[in-house]
């Protein structure tokens, strides 16, 4: 027969193993979308995933943000190029949701980097080089306090590719095989042509 004190100790020890209501929030699968490569007039698509870790369902939305810095040129604000679908979301614990980030590069965009001052902008210690961000934030139902993350985004506008580039690459990579194939065709064609000629005579 166990004493009351033994039961009390057991209860206290048991309480230690009950998980506390540890506050968690929302996770994202990438902290930057920098140096996306594309061509003027084309659209770049990238995916980004959120995972709910909070015990409560959270509601939120995506938006773009431009960090204005004195003296910045017009290549830094690319918020008007960006759309995120779906924009609004609700997320529960353990749930993952995929969002599509579309960057529509204007036809007249000049070559080079847009949205950040350096290709290193995503690296730790380079926050001063970031200008354009995508942002998500969310809150539990009825809340007026949101939390979110600033995710830097930048685009490298490349020169339009030569339409024959894949063919040229294939020829360069298989030049020996192609030459040997030509020799084989010539070697096989000559006797065949000769035989055809003899039959004709």
């Amino acid at each position: 027969m166990y004493s009351k004190s033994t039961i009390l100790v057991a209860l206290v020890l048991g309480l230690l193993f009950i998980p506390g209501s540890t506050a968690l929030a929302t996770s994202v699968d990438r902290m930057s979308l920098t140096n996306l490569e594309g061509y003027a007039g084309k659209t770049i698509k990238a995916e980004i995933t959120l995972e709910g870790t909070d015990l409560e369902e959270r509601s939120g939305f995506w938006y773009t943000n431009y960090k204005e810095v004195e003296g910045a040129d017009n290549r830094m604000d690319i918020t008007s190029w960006i759309t995120i679908e779906p924009k609004d979301f609700t997320i529960k614990q353990g749930e993952t949701k995929v969002f599509t980030v579309e960057v529509k590069i204007p036809r007249d965009a000049e070559l080079g980097l847009w949205g950040a001052t350096s290709e290193e902008a995503a690296k730790e210690g380079h926050s001063g080089e970031r200008r354009t961000y995508i942002v998500f934030k969310d809150t539990p139902a009825g809340g007026n306090v949101y939390s979110g993350l600033l995710i830097p985004i930048s685009v490298k506008v490349l020169p339009s590719p030569n339409p024959l580039a894949p063919v040229i690459n294939f020829v360069q990579q298989n030049i020996i095989t192609i030459l040997l194939s030509v020799v084989i065709i010539v070697l096989l064609a000559r006797p065949l042509l000769r035989r055809k000629k003899q039959i004709g005579e």
Partner: protein, 193 residues
């Protein structure tokens, strides 16, 4: 006769070249010994900053500034977990924040504070202090969050390391309008330093 011989020779050379090509292509897969070693790496999770109560690690949902006279300074906001009975305290010795910010992400996050415009013009301005939780000497809250009650975004340049907390103090100056009740949202944004 010689034509036939040359024809056969051509075919023989062609077959030889075909074998050479096939052999050459196939040869690319010949691996005599493995020079491959496995590497592995992983990245830590990236999670939003959690806004929790003054003591417990429970996420708060709302922050409320109690009613005050027009143009008054309200320095006793409270959150829905600690309630009005345990509001923010400004003091040179025993200050207590309105909420704490906890970084559960895998790396340090720099904090940016954002507010939306206070509705009905109820606020004239809002200020903040973001300090280490061991600092209990916050008697004055004077970093500008919004100078006019309108929406604002303030990069604080203050980082929170993984698993660490920061204490957030808020103070609101009400506008001169009487009998109004307005709302605004506060956002805590994290960013890789």
């Amino acid at each position: 006769m010689t034509h036939i011989l040359f024809g056969k020779l051509n075919i023989a050379i062609a077959l030889f070249l075909i074998v050479l090509i096939i052999g050459g292509l196939g040869g690319m897969t010949y691996v005599l010994a493995s020079n491959v070693s496995t590497q592995s790496a992983s990245t830590a999770s990236a999670t939003t900053i959690t806004v929790v109560g003054k003591v417990a690690d429970t996420a708060i949902t709302t922050i409320t500034f109690p009613e005050g006279a027009p143009s008054a300074t309200i320095s006793v906001p409270y959150n829905d977990i600690d309630t009005v009975s345990d509001a923010q305290v400004l003091s040179g010795t025993v200050s207590e924040p309105v909420v704490r910010l906890k970084n559960t992400s895998g790396g340090t996050l720099n904090v940016t504070l954002e507010i939306t415009t206070w509705t009905l013009g109820v606020a004239a301005s809002e200020d903040y202090e973001l300090v280490v939780t061991t600092d209990t000497t916050v008697a004055v809250v004077d970093n500008v969050l919004s100078a006019d009650g309108n929406s604002a975004s303030v990069p604080t340049a203050i980082g929170i390391t993984t698993g660490a907390y920061k204490a957030l103090y808020l103070e609101l100056v009400l506008s001169s309008l009487a009998g109004k009740s307005g709302t605004s949202t506060l956002t805590i944004l994290g960013e890789t330093p």
